[in-house]
Each structure stands twice: as structure tokens, then as C-alpha cells.
Amino acid sequence: MRKDLILHFGALAILLFLELLGVFSDYHQGNFARILVLAAYGIGYNVLFGYTGLLSLGHALFFSAGLYASGLSIYHLDYNVGQSLILAICFSAFFSLVIGYLALRTVGVSFMIVTLMFSQVGYLCILYFGGITRGDEGIVIQQSSRVFLSLDLSDPTIRYYAALIIFSLCLIFNLWIAKSSFGRVLIAIRENSDRALMLGYNVHLYKLFAVIISGTISGLAGACYGILFGYVGASFAAVPYSIFPLLWVLIGGVGTVLGPLVGAIFMFYLIDYASDITDAYMIIVGITLLVVTLYARRGLLGELRYRYFKWIP
């Protein structure tokens, strides 16, 4: 058996057995369902940042594109879960194509600024068209709409399994990308884009594909988040939701398949703990960002890969 397959399917098996053996209390079961969907979002982010080396500061735009595409179609057009998911995937893919095409006209720091700017405007648009989106207040998706193949997705146990399936799909897809020749080219672009260009690869097109894949996974995660937890609000489009995936990836390991999950678990519980103590819990995010950039640039799995396990994808 290959070591990398054992590691990743082992991790998925642990997540499955934690539920089967009833280890979770109700509270942690809910938390982990959220973490799994958010980690899928982190995987989407990592495809662009970790593998292609493009730092986006505006991924909340893609997350909320999926979130609102599915949420609004259920709320206004009475779509069922399956239809709304298909719509969300198509919309996110198209949307990331447009945004990627525009943002990739810039390089380096301009790319980071432009993505941040686009996502801020996405947030402002959601507030501006409050008649449709109900702005800050948001939309609550009724329990009756959250049924898929006659399974009630608002039931905590079914919700956990659904979240685990979404996460597993994204993880396997990410693993496949990391091992494929396509992924190798992305890594080559990250390491030295001039050299990749010299070797004859269409760097711009590969970057655009990376943005589309990354944006679509993020949008899918957003759509699932809205459906599983029944709430679609403007706060998911705001700056913190662009910073969180960056933070998960940095903590867990830049350019590692399991990194986003590790980072998301850590940050979720850290913020959960801090928000019990103070209203100003976002200060934790600030401090963690500084600590990670100053002392742990590779993140946990990245450091392990660097020191001991060269084979971690």
C-alpha cells in the first residue's frame, strides 16, 4: 500500500469512526460538521495559494457566490437541494472564470489587492441588493427545503455524514490534483513561474484553471454550508471569511492536502474558546497570523514534510 493513501484515507476513516463510535457530544458533533465543510473551503483555497502560489485575499467572494447561488435559488425559486447545488457549482465556476480573468491581469501584490477589492465589492453588492438578499439580516432556509434524497439534512447525524462526504470528495480531488501532471505544473509555477514558462507551459492558462478549480470548490463548500446549517448571510462575504482559509492553510501546512483540516480544527476551537472570554476575539486571529508568519512559515504538516516525511502530498 502507498503511504500517502494510508495517511489520507486513514484520516477520513478516523473522522468516520469518531461518529460511528459516538465519541462526539452533540456540541462537538455540530462543530465538527461545520469544520469539515469549512475545511473543504480551505482545500479550495489551498489549490490556489498552496499549490499554485497565488495569494488571494478575497476568497470569501467565491464562498459567498456558492452560498448565495444555492440559498437564493432555494428561497426565491423553490429549487430543491440537488438543483441548487448544480446551480451553485456552475455559477461559481463561471464567476471564478470572470474574476480570475480580470485579477490575473495583475501580478504579485497587485493580485492580492485586486482580489481583496473584488471581494469587498461583492460584500457591498449583497448589502446594496438587500431587497433580494435581505442584506445583513440574511436568509433562513426552512427545514422543509433542506431535504436531499428524502434525507433530512438538518438532522445532526445526517448533517455530519453529509459534511464528511463533501469533505472527502474535495480531499480526494485535491489528492488526485497533487499527484497528477496538472498539479505538478501548478507546483512548478509556484516554485518558478519564469522557468515553467520557458519549459513551454502556458502559465497564464494554468493559473486561470487553478483559480476556476479553487473558486468552484470554495463555492461548493459555501453552498453546502448554507444548506446544511440553514443560514445565508452577508457576514460570510466579509473580510474575515477571506482571511480564515488563509489562516487554516498557513497553520496546517501550505500546499498539503490535510493542512486545511488541521488548521480549521485548531482555529475553530481557538476562536470558540476566545469568544467565551472577550468580544474582541478576532485579536486571536491577528496574533496567530503574526506568530505563524514569524516563526512557522511552513505550517504543521509543511514542517513535518520538510523535516521527516518527504512523501506527504
Binding site: 495569494l55 501584490v109 497587485s110 473580510v239
Partner: protein, 293 residues
């Protein structure tokens, strides 16, 4: 009111916007121009200036002009010192790597913002205008203080230009901007220059905040919007080009002010970003930008 006077009123409001915005964007552009880093925490230094202005003026009783003048002196200095401290504590150790710096300044953003929430609190607080004179412009009255804001911003912009173009320190800055390694080889203390520039960028934004806070209120979340606008300005003007920054700030500030008066502030931001999209399509380096970044 007829459309003509209404448009005049909107343009005046727009000019006040543009004046303060050009200060904020100038600080951002100066830091990028010399140090080649993007300071995402820039908006928080602006917020810090506003909160410090409220704090200083709450000490000085009696004539509000006294408190205002003191704030104009103290707030930029404190904001500048905090910026220089964060440069010394953090950015220096990252060797100004563009990616690491941008992530670290996001961290600084949250620390300053949340520290303000812990100390200053979540409420918006007003600062009294230093002088309360209304100029009668025939169709409507307009606060004389707003004219002062425009005037003071122009003075500050001119003095930054004078420092850059005519003084020894400005020469050091331009040398560092052009080629930091050669500058260092010629004995220019690069790390001191960087530290001073980072502090100056924050201080200029803080001056803008002290000027605007008698019109707008001080609030711990007020840094986000000017940061967005300043980013729009530097992308349109070309990152690092001071001339382009001021030109774009006037354009964006004016249109933002006018659209805000006639329609809504949110729509103004959305339209400004569409302008950015347009500029990116025809000139990816900005209207005045030359260097690839």
C-alpha cells in the same frame, strides 16, 4: 434646490472626500513606493488617528480649537510611533518579503482594531468642530471647517512633495526607492529609512483622520472603507506613483462624494471598483504606473 446648486453642493462634499482620501492613499503609496510592501493595516492607522483625536480633545476643555490643534500634533506622532514599533518588531524580521508582509499586516490590522474595541469600545463618538462657522453660499450654507480640511490637505500634500523633491531626506528616500542595494552600498541606512517611511505613511493617514473626525465620528471599524478606497486609488493611479495617486484620489474622491450625495455610498464604491476593472483591462499597471510590480 435646483440641480445646479445641488451639484455644486455634491462637488464640495466630494472635494472634502477627495482631500482626505488623497492623504490616506498618499501614505499607502509612499510606503509601497519606497519599501515595496503593501500595508493592509493602513486603514487601522487612520482609525487610530481618529480615536486619538477624540481622546486628546476629551482632555482639553474650553475652546475646541485647542484640543483640535493638540490632536493634530499628538495623534500622528503616536500613530507613527506605533507603526515604527510594528516595523521594528515584525516587518524587519520578515525581510520585507511581499507575501509574508501582507499577511503580517493583516495580523497587525486585527490586533489594532480589536485593541481599539477593548479600550475605546464599540460606540461611535463625535469630536467637536474646532470652529463653527457657516459660509453662506447663496443657495445653501456650507461649513467653513470643510474648506479648512481641503486647504490643510493641499498644504500637507505640497509639503510631502517638497520633502521628496527638495530635501536631503527626500533624496535618500528616492535613492532607496530606485535601488535599495546600491543605496545601502553608498552608506544610506536603509533600515532607518524604511522605519521612518513606514511611520510617516501611518502619520499622514492619521492626519487625514484628525481632519475628518469632526465631520464623521470616530469608530473602531472606520478603517475598512478608506482602505478599500485607497486600494482603488493606488490601483488606478499605479502603485508607487505619487503623482498618479493624487490624481486618482481626486477622481475617485470626487465621484464617490457626488454619487454618495445623489444615490448611495454603497453604489459609489461598487462603481469605483467597476472603474478599476476597466482600468485593469486597458492598462494593467494603472494609469500612471510604469514599473511592473
Amino acid at each position: 434646490m435646483d440641480l445646479g446648486p445641488y451639484l455644486l453642493f455634491a462637488s464640495l462634499e466630494g472635494l472634502v472626500h477627495a482631500a482626505v482620501l488623497s492623504l490616506i492613499a498618499l501614505g499607502l503609496s509612499l510606503v509601497f513606493g519606497v519599501m515595496r510592501i503593501v500595508n493592509v493595516a493602513h486603514g487601522e492607522f487612520f482609525m487610530l488617528g481618529a480615536i486619538l483625536a477624540w481622546w486628546v480633545s476629551s482632555f482639553v476643555l474650553g475652546n475646541p480649537a485647542l484640543g483640535f490643534l493638540l490632536a493634530l500634533l499628538v495623534a500622528p506622532i503616536i500613530a507613527g510611533i506605533i507603526a515604527m514599533f510594528s516595523d521594528w518588531l515584525i516587518l524587519k524580521h520578515l525581510k520585507y518579503d511581499p507575501e509574508a508582509t501582507i499577511i503580517a499586516t493583516i495580523g497587525i490590522l486585527y490586533i489594532i482594531q480589536q485593541a481599539a474595541l477593548m479600550t475605546f469600545g464599540p460606540d461611535a463618538r463625535p469630536v467637536e468642530q474646532p470652529f463653527n462657522v457657516r459660509l453662506d453660499l447663496y443657495w445653501f450654507g456650507f461649513s467653513a471647517y470643510k474648506f479648512f480640511v481641503i486647504f490643510a490637505s493641499i498644504i500637507l500634500l505640497l509639503s510631502v512633495w517638497l520633502v521628496m523633491a527638495k530635501t536631503k531626506f527626500g533624496l535618500l528616500l528616492r535613492a532607496t526607492q530606485l535601488d535599495s542595494e546600491t543605496a545601502q552600498a553608498f552608506g544610506i541606512p536603509i533600515s532607518t529609512v524604511y522605519s521612518l517611511v513606514f511611520g510617516a505613511g501611518a502619520a499622514i493617514a492619521a492626519v487625514g483622520a484628525v481632519l475628518i473626525v469632526p465631520i464623521q465620528q470616530a469608530h473602531y471599524l472606520m478603517g475598512g472603507e478608506p482602505l478599500l478606497l485607497a486600494f482603488i486609488v493606488v490601483i488606478i493611479g499605479g502603485l508607487g506613483s505619487l503623482r498618479g495617486t493624487v490624481a486618482a484620489a481626486v477622481l475617485i474622491g470626487m465621484s464617490d462624494g457626488i454619487i454618495s450625495v445623489f444615490f448611495s455610498p454603497t453604489l459609489a464604491k461598487i462603481l469605483a471598483t467597476l472603474l478599476v476593472v476597466f482600468v485593469l483591462l486597458i492598462r494593467p499597471n494603472g494609469l500612471f504606473g510604469t514599473a511592473k510590480v
